[in-house]
Amino acid sequence: MDTRPVDLDAIASRSDFRKLSAARNKLGNGLAVIMAAIYFTFICMVAFSPATLAQPIATGSSISVGIVVGVVVMASGFVLTAIYVFYASSRLDGMVKAVRETVQ
């Protein structure tokens, strides 16, 4: 382990770090907003328009719109997580490594 002091404040103002933190914030916050939007849209449908969800997907079917929507909401949680992991591994990790290498 290297024990030289690292000037974190200096790193904070470097452009490579700024790019990294901006990219991660954009990714994390963006996906969080999408997830929350999907979820609260669903919850608002439950709250304000339950009849829409209760409709069958086709006449005579016992599968409702709500069941399909529910499965889609669940799947979207996994897909968004996968997007984060994929993007972070392919882009952000490299940027973190580059920043770390300059001080170690």
């Binding site: 024990t3 974190l8 994390g28 209760a54 599968i63």
Partner: protein, 551 residues
Amino acid sequence: MRTTSRLTLIGTFLLASNVAFADALTGEVVRQGINPVAIGMFLLFVAASLVLTVWAARRGTRTAKDFYAAGGGLGGIQNGLAIAGDYTSAATFLGVTALVYGAGYDGMIYAIGFLVGFPMILFLVAEPLRNLGRYTFADLAAYRLSERPIRTVAGINTLVIVLFYLIAQMVGAGKLIELLFGLPYWVAVVVVGVLMMLYVTFGGMLATTWVQITKAILLLSGTTLMSVLILAHYGFSASELFAHAVSVHPKGTAIIGPGGLVKDPISAISLGMALIFGTAGLPHILMRFFTVTDAQQARVSVLVATGFITVFYTLLFILGFGAIALLTGDLAYQDAAGKIVGGTNMIAIHLSDKLGGSVLMGFISAVAFATILAVVSGLTMAGASAAGHDLFARAILKGQVSERTEIAVSKLSAAAISILAIILGILFENQNIAFMIGLVFAIAASANFPVILLSVTWEGLTTRGAVLGSVSGLGCALVMMTLSPGVWTTVLGFGSSPFPYDNPALFSVPLAFFVTVLVSVTDRSTNAKKARQAFTAQYVTAHTGLRDNAP
């Protein structure tokens, strides 16, 4: 006044248990019998978990890193499974299936809420948490804020959450074992309490982790098997299954749409808020991120856990509808009064009996039992670390304590928490456990989430703001909960409730954010100035894992 109503309450319980006892004497004893497969699998699991505990104890739980974080060397897949094992509780396995059985689609609303909180942890806090913290989520908030007040508040929040969560788990455990062995409820609760005490005090996080991984694999295999068997009854057509369920359920087509659980828009949104933000405030889940080697493995953990949980909850929905389709009107699973034997929370167990006889029932019961043990040990672990690390070593003794003493105190706390959980489990026997979990999430979302989020994202956060925000979130959630229909009317029997909604999150989460921000902004102390100045360095560490290496 209070004594009178409490006496009435006790009277009601006694009356209820006398009735149940009378029923048990007439027919249940014969039908329940002793299920040798269940007992065999229980014993096998318990034996295996104790061997694991001995192994973990030999590897050592002396250092803080070993005890709290299993040495910190787990891989992402291992930890992902352990998170899933920590999160998918028996309360959700039994409770959500029961909810779907009783109300159909409403169960799905709960299930979706349990799921979406997970990606939120990854998007907002997982990586900073791993980069800044060591053993508990309070490490994160205490990174640049004053340690003592922050850890005191976080430690108390953790203990409150852990105890409420444990109650729900203990109730599930007690009912399950009562049903299978015909053991008295309290004996069952004591058995679970003692086992979790052994895992945590002797095996620490390492034993807890492997109990959780084993359980996660067992639980997913069990639910997958049951779903396949259910679908096989209906030619592997989900629409056949739903059609049959609709035709036999007393509520008919109402069960494929939102129904009685969500009484009004405010309750629905409030519950949603508790679930999506509460997950990122659950101490036992956050603690798991310290067991992996780095931020990259933390990400993989969440992906594995989210995938697992998505599949699991989808299967629960099939199980619930399968229970409606196959068990409605089946007298074998009802008592003389037409109620489900053991309460509706036992419906998943009855379903396994229907699908695969006593062998499958034995297996699923053992799985549910394993599930309970895995979750309660994770919770006890979180409670012990809050008591030993945050409260005792850091807040009270300001870090002037040997690691050895700290661990000893954590282990003692684990024992104390187990005993308390046993007592509370016995007191709360007749509550619906899925509903109880909704309340836990409200507390986590109000008291922990705002502070965790703001401490990593907002430069302006100060100690005073974080403490008052967290306390007001907790206080508001607890007070509103007490005044809600679920507690005021149902549990306390005080008549119509002063607060109309069952979940307080819609009010308590914004309140906590508001108080935190308002107090922080108006905080002109030197301490506040220091906290703001320290943000930049913390921000770099949060993003890169680099530390300043200053002595």
